[in-house]
């Protein structure tokens, strides 16, 4: 499957969805005005990927800022990853800086809402 790479902008995250390299990562900042439009291609991509995923998928979230509009899109990504896990092994890593209570809390919220293996990973 063709990889999907989106470079970071001032208000949208860097997105790497690369099955060949086995790299799946959303990082940096996500505060777009229109999160719906921004995440649509990402959701479409994962939907398609769920049909025929790698044996192992490790999906990393390493975000610095997330607005509420994005948080609603991110839960959809995670739910799709749950779907991916029906055909392959999936693990989600949610990175947060040790001082960032809000980012930890958001990760904990997602973890609670899904059944896919979900690790909260503190970084210094």
């Amino acid at each position: 499957m063709e990889k999907l790479i989106l470079e970071e902008t001032e208000d949208t995250p860097e997105i790497i969805l690369d099955p060949e390299e086995g790299k799946f990562k959303i990082s940096k900042i996500s505060v777009p005005e229109n999160a719906l439009d921004f995440y649509r291609p990402v959701l479409d991509w994962i939907k398609q990927y769920a049909e025929e995923p790698n044996i192992q998928t490790v999906f990393d979230f390493d975000l610095e800022y997330v607005n509420t509009a994005s948080s609603k899109q991110i839960i959809q990504i995670i739910l799709l990853l749950q779907k991916v896990s029906e055909k392959g092994n999936v693990k989600v890593n949610w990175y947060y800086e040790s001082i960032d209570e809000d980012m930890r809390a958001l990760g904990a919220r997602y973890k609670k809402l899904v059944t896919v293996p979900f690790d909260l990973v503190e970084i210094e």
């Binding site: 509420t68 960032d100 209570e101 919220r109």
Partner: protein, 381 residues
């Protein structure tokens, strides 16, 4: 009761908001200036100016930029000079850029030692007494052999500010105590409006800025943003907040809350006129005791007010645990396709705010309402 905020500007926010015109703005930063903050302030101001001047006034925009750079450097110079002194914390510097009609006003303020005042004043008076050609000559003289001041500039910065603006340098000295005087410096441009009606610019005049400074000091405001909001200046404001990062955890929280509040204005605020510059509003950030207070104000449709009030009462009335569960519910509710209606914003703000969300509505003419919202974040070390 302690419940009442000492942040008096809450009530005055509408007066602030309405005093500026449709394509006008005023940004004021009060506090400690470091290189990073200075850079971000420049970006914010420059982008905003670009939005309203358009391509036709590239020269003006460059001049304003230049003057802002000089002014900001002035503040940091003075700040460095007094680096070992607590007094800079006691009397923080201030930078203001205001646009009123066709005119821009750039004001800086900082403390200087009392024994430097006379020298500074005489330099300013010399500069103000010279015409364009004389200034050019004076500039060259100093460049080629004048005495360099301990600030390293021999007042070159001041001369350049005067030359670039083409107008006199307005200044005021306000003696604070036995050691220090507050020094205000203002540049106005462009200078070609001969008979300017100063009454429309009253809030930008030296007196106007000084009285605003007084208010900001009294309420301990660090940032005031009055004008139009768009995604671009939201990001610049975010960068400014990030640069003040002496308290990392608090900074993150403030940033998160600020993004929601400002995007709320951008998404739901009414425009009085159709301008591409953004949605008019006012935002300020201040410190009361151990809380950082964030306040936003904007115009909404009168009919929206009751809906907003209901939602705010709803989130304020809930215990945080229950509210957190409610957050999960909305997160998983994909049926309401309209992202605007999820209500996540208020829920998130209430969860992050350390006290109930404070709000106020003020009915305006023409079916509009001015809507104020305030959140508070405890300052954690």
């Amino acid at each position: 009761m302690a419940k009442e905020s000492t942040n008096n500007l809450f009530g005055a926010a509408y007066d602030l908001f309405k005093r500026i015109g449709d394509s006008d703005f005023e940004y004021v930063y009060r506090g400690y200036f470091n290189h990073n903050i200075t850079k971000k302030i420049l970006i914010l101001a420059d982008k905003s100016i670009a939005k309203v001047t358009g391509d036709t006034q590239a020269t003006l925009q460059k001049r304003i930029y230049y003057i802002m750079v000089e002014g900001l450097q002035n503040i940091t110079h003075h700040q460095d000079e007094i680096a070992n002194d607590r007094n800079f914390e006691k009397y923080p510097g201030i930078f203001a850029i205001q646009k009123s009609g066709e005119k821009y006003f750039i004001t800086t303020g900082n403390i200087v030692a009392n024994d430097k005042v006379a020298d500074l004043k005489s330099r300013l008076d010399v500069i103000n007494s010279l015409d364009k050609d004389e200034l050019k000559k004076y500039h060259r003289e100093i460049l080629t052999g004048g005495t360099i001041s301990d600030k390293g500039g021999a007042g070159l910065g001041l001369i350049e500010m005067s030359r670039k603006s083409g107008s006199k340098l307005h200044y005021k000295f306000d003696r604070l105590d036995d050691e220090y005087t507050y020094f205000y410096l203002q540049t106005q441009l462009p200078s070609d409006n001969k008979n300017d009606d100063d009454t429309i610019h009253a809030h930008c005049s030296m007196d106007g800025v000084m009285s605003l400074h007084q208010r900001m000091t009294k309420d301990n405001l660090q940032l005031l943003f009055n004008g139009f909001f768009n995604q671009e200046n939201l990001l610049s404001l975010l960068a400014i907040i990030k640069s003040r990062s002496n308290l990392p955890l608090t900074t993150i929280k403030i940033s998160n809350v600020m993004v929601e509040m400002l995007q709320n204005i951008i998404k739901h605020g009414e425009k009085s006129v159709n301008t591409s510059a953004g949605v008019p509003g006012v935002f300020f950030l201040g410190q009361t005791g151990n809380e950082t207070i964030l306040t936003s104000g904007n115009i909404i449709n009168e009919d929206a007010a009751s809906v907003i009030a209901q939602r705010l009462e709803f989130v304020n009335g809930m215990a945080k645990d229950a509210l957190s569960d409610y957050y999960d519910d909305i997160l998983l509710d994909f049926d309401s396709a309209d992202a605007k209606k999820t209500g996540l914003g208020f829920t998130d703000l209430r969860l992050k705010s350390d006290r109930p969300l404070k709000y106020e509505f003020q009915k305006l003419d023409g079916g509009n309402t001015f809507y104020l919202l305030q959140t508070a974040i405890k300052t954690n070390k």
